[in-house]
Amino acid sequence: MTSTVLFYLLQFLILASALGVVLIPNPIYCALMLAVSMIGISALFFSLEAYFVAGVQLIVYAGAVMVLFVMVIMLFNLKNEVVAFSKGLLSKVLKVSLSVLIFALIASSLSMSFADLNSSQLQPYESAMRSVKELSALLFTKYIFAFEAISILLILVVVGAVSLARAKGGTHASDK
């Protein structure tokens, strides 16, 4: 009973803050709302006994990615960009089509995972450490290629970020 109430409370928090991201005009509050939403998702994972995923959600999304967002929003005055992005037919078409695309992606992946899901196979692990070990056993054997590919992906991010930050015209325009 209490668990169910808690679950719906968390859902409400996540959805309300996600709505806030879309509806609040001030970008800094949007970013904070998104952070709240991330933290709520982490709490949801935690309540579903996926403790490791919950921690990762906190460390990577709430603690790193959203900090970057908040920092960037604080650094730049976003007013001009906001105006440029919310006017014009082209941007409207882009916005709508992108939203439809993302919605279709989510819906199709959900329906595919429901087709795969067989709830009778689902068994809770005897301890949280066991579930982490199962996760890594899969990650480091079956999905080894994806794992190594991630390091390449990360290095691409590094190269891209460095070259963007050092490009001409920035605040640190190519020194010397």
Binding site: S47, V65, M71, M74, K133, F140, L154, I155, A161, A165
Partner: protein, 124 residues
């Protein structure tokens, strides 16, 4: 589920409530003075600010944050690996998982080397 999440939510609510209640009480107890114009100005060591506080800030901070994300994700991937390393060793697959992680880390050390040589880590 309430068993594990309960204490965390309870503590979060407790500290939030404590903060709100204390700040509210303090605002009632403290003296109420009419704020003057000079007082409301942001404190900039006596000279009033000429620009808004949101001026240009070095892009360095942004770069630091994005590099942080990259290496943080690397660390996150090492955690589950560290948890099973001894298990794999005991089962005789030690060399396999060791080499796997060495390759992963070497790629990122290469990245670190790149940003180091590219002077992205130099401040001033």
């Amino acid at each position: 589920m309430i068993y594990q999440l309960g204490p965390v939510l309870f503590m979060a609510t407790l500290s939030l409530l404590f903060g709100v209640v204390v700040l509210f009480l303090v605002s009632k107890v403290g003296p109420k003075l009419k704020p003057t114009k000079a007082k409301l100005e942001s404190y900039e060591s006596g000279i009033s600010g000429q620009q808004a506080s949101t001026t240009k800030v070095p892009v360095k901070f942004y770069l630091t944050a994005i590099l942080f994300i990259v290496f943080d994700i690397e660390a996150i991937f090492i955690y589950p690996w560290a948890a099973v390393f001894k298990d794999f060793l005991a089962e005789g697959y030690g060399s396999f998982i060791l080499i796997e992680m060495v390759v992963f880390m070497a790629t990122l050390v290469w990245g670190l080397f790149y940003i180091w040589k590219g002077k992205a880590l130099d401040w001033e």
